[in-house]
């Protein structure tokens, strides 16, 4: 009996604030919302056929793919590079670790505001570039550089968490393995790909899942830095859901898009979980 009482608050919370709303979102996705009367009318799945006919949606999905893909690839590779660089005992190493983690302490919106400030046409980045004689672009006002900017700001803010996780994993690799490899005459590249990478692969999987799901949910960064623009070049799915539901009052269609986002997260998580047998090394 005690067990049920102990888990009851968490259980009720999940039912009321996660599962019930998901159920309602499914219900809304089959209805049209009348903004004036607040009534729902069943529309036989026309929100779903709208998905196919929405001329914006392919662009939004492409932006989502580029943003999430870019963030994940950079987050994992830069995170791993920094962790390897920081995984030694030299004076000042803890200070460097603190520096790479520090953006996590700055709130998302504050961090994004500063980048918006630095990336303006007459902002700090272009100011620094002009010192060395480069005429920098108006970063946030052109499609390609706007996307590069949001990806960069997001990676720099969030990679510190991955660095900490990777460092912990690197320090967990038994030293004997390295010594044995050295004795066998393996060079550092072989040691890295033959020992380090397989040994930390469970952590790579975990951070991979967390980073993908996090990138798919980045909202404040887009809303503050580019508002999805210019055009729809940085309108990722999350931002599109917000626009449809709360700016254009398309509750039904917004819910349909929201469910699409949920299905992406589910599919990616399950996929990564299934693939773990293929590439995650287990000590046996």
């Amino acid at each position: 009996m005690a067990g049920y009482l102990f888990v009851a608050p968490q259980m009720l919370g999940v039912l009321l604030f996660v599962l019930l709303p998901v159920g309602l979102a499914i219900y809304y996705s089959f209805n049209t919302w009348n903004v004036f009367t607040g009534e729902m009318t069943f529309n036989g799945g026309s929100n779903y056929s709208d998905l196919v006919n929405d001329p914006q949606l392919p662009k939004v999905l492409l932006a989502t793919l580029i943003f999430s893909g870019g963030v994940v690839v950079l987050n994992l590779s830069v995170g791993l590079l920094l962790a390897v660089l920081l995984n030694r005992r030299l004076p000042g190493v803890t200070a460097f670790r603190a520096i790479f983690f520090s953006p996590v302490v700055v709130s998302v919106v504050a961090w994004t505001l500063v980048w918006g400030f630095l990336l303006q046409d007459n902002g700090g980045i272009n100011g620094l570039l002009s010192v060395v004689g480069i005429d920098g672009p108006n970063w946030l006002q052109q499609g390609p550089t706007a996307m590069v900017s949001v990806i960069f700001a997001q990676v720099v803010r969030s990679v510190g968490v991955n660095v900490v996780l990777f460092l912990a994993a690197l320090q967990g690799v038994p030293r004997e393995l390295y010594e044995a490899a050295r004795v066998d005459g393996a060079n550092s590249r072989k040691v890295f790909f033959g020992i380090t990478l397989p040994m930390i692969s469970p952590t790579l999987l975990l951070t991979g899942v967390i980073t993908v799901v996090g990138a798919l949910q980045a909202f404040a960064q887009i809303a503050v830095l580019t508002q999805g623009g210019p055009g729809v070049s940085t309108t990722v799915l999350v931002y599109y859901v917000f626009q449809q539901a709360f700016e254009f009052n398309n509750i039904g269609y917004g819910s349909t898009l929201a469910l699409m986002l949920l299905s992406f997260v589910l599919v990616l998580t399950i996929l990564q979980w299934q693939l773990r047998r293929k590439w995650v090394f287990h000590e046996e």
């Binding site: 067990g3 520090s102 919106v109 505001l113 007459n122 949920l262």
Partner: protein, 279 residues
């Protein structure tokens, strides 16, 4: 041989120094620029430190909108949420790890689904639910959803992992002394779980502190705003950003998170030292 090592160290320091630029420059620039008069902010070539530091932007931040009130809102909501999450996740995590009851695994999987559902999926229905309950333009949605949805589920998972790893003997001794479940959880489990609890506290505080979509959707009255929302409202009559004021406000938002990190980190170390986990 010796010089070879020195060169390698030099390369290591140089690489790190270059790599850390994008990580420090924005924060330093943010704080430094908040002390500059507006015209100096866009000076070309850019200056790092203000020539004649002024604190005008800070007082302007508090005069422009109820910034003190908004600051308090963010702090109190994050504290309340963190306390609730610590309690709820500690109870649930303990039960999922240590109490055997039918359906335990099924219930745990149901709870875990809370981690997979993006908050953007549930925001529209939640908005309608809270509207019906008369809670729009109050802090209730921010407190309730954060306290029970994804951040709490993650916390429950962390607490469960922690309690699973605790030695059983500690509890058996307590049971022989005639303590009940609740007493064992409160007197043995909770004090021992400080290291996990401080991790949970940091994560929960941060996720409440960073909420942006939710306050944007639920709150319309400026004095109810939280900090992230308030920061984006420092704009002049033409919608242009009041950069110096915005950067002053943004600099101030760093303080509580820094404090939480410093406090929780000490707890973390103490927790390990006092809980007998070390040896």
């Amino acid at each position: 041989m010796k010089s070879d090592v020195l060169v390698r160290r030099g390369v290591w320091y140089l690489a790190l120094a270059v790599l850390c630029l994008p990580f420090v420059v924005p924060t330093v620039w943010m704080v430094a620029s908040s002390f500059k008069p507006l015209r100096e902010i866009f000076a070309s070539p850019p200056t790092l430190l203000a020539k004649n530091p002024v604190v005008g932007a800070y007082s302007e931040a508090f005069a422009f909108q109820p910034f003190g009130r908004q600051y308090f809102n963010s702090v109190y909501i994050a504290v309340v949420v963190t306390v609730i999450v610590l309690l709820v996740s500690s109870l649930a995590g303990y039960a999922f790890a240590r109490i055997r009851f039918p359906g335990r695994n099924v219930l745990f999987v149901i709870v875990l689904t809370g981690l997979l559902v993006p908050s953007e999926t549930t925001i529209v229905p939640l908005f309608q639910m809270f509207k019906r309950a008369g809670m729009i333009n109050t802090h209730w949605p921010l407190i309730l959803v954060t306290s029970f949805a994804a951040p709490c589920v993650l916390a429950t998972f962390i607490m469960r992992q922690f309690f699973i790893a605790l030695p059983l003997e500690l509890e058996e001794a307590a049971r022989l002394d005639g303590l009940g479940r609740v007493a064992i959880w409160w007197r043995i489990g909770v004090p021992l779980s400080k290291p996990a609890a401080s991790a949970v506290a940091i994560l929960t505080f941060m996720s409440s502190w960073n909420l942006y979509l939710e306050p944007t959707v639920y709150l319309t009255t400026p004095k109810l705003f939280t900090l992230p929302q308030a920061l984006t409202r420092f704009t002049d009559a033409y919608g242009g950003n009041m950069w110096n004021v915005q950067l002053a406000g943004a600099s101030l938002t760093v303080v509580p998170v820094l404090l939480v990190f410093v406090l929780a980190q000490r707890q973390f170390v103490e927790g390990i030292a006092h809980s007998g986990l070390k040896g």
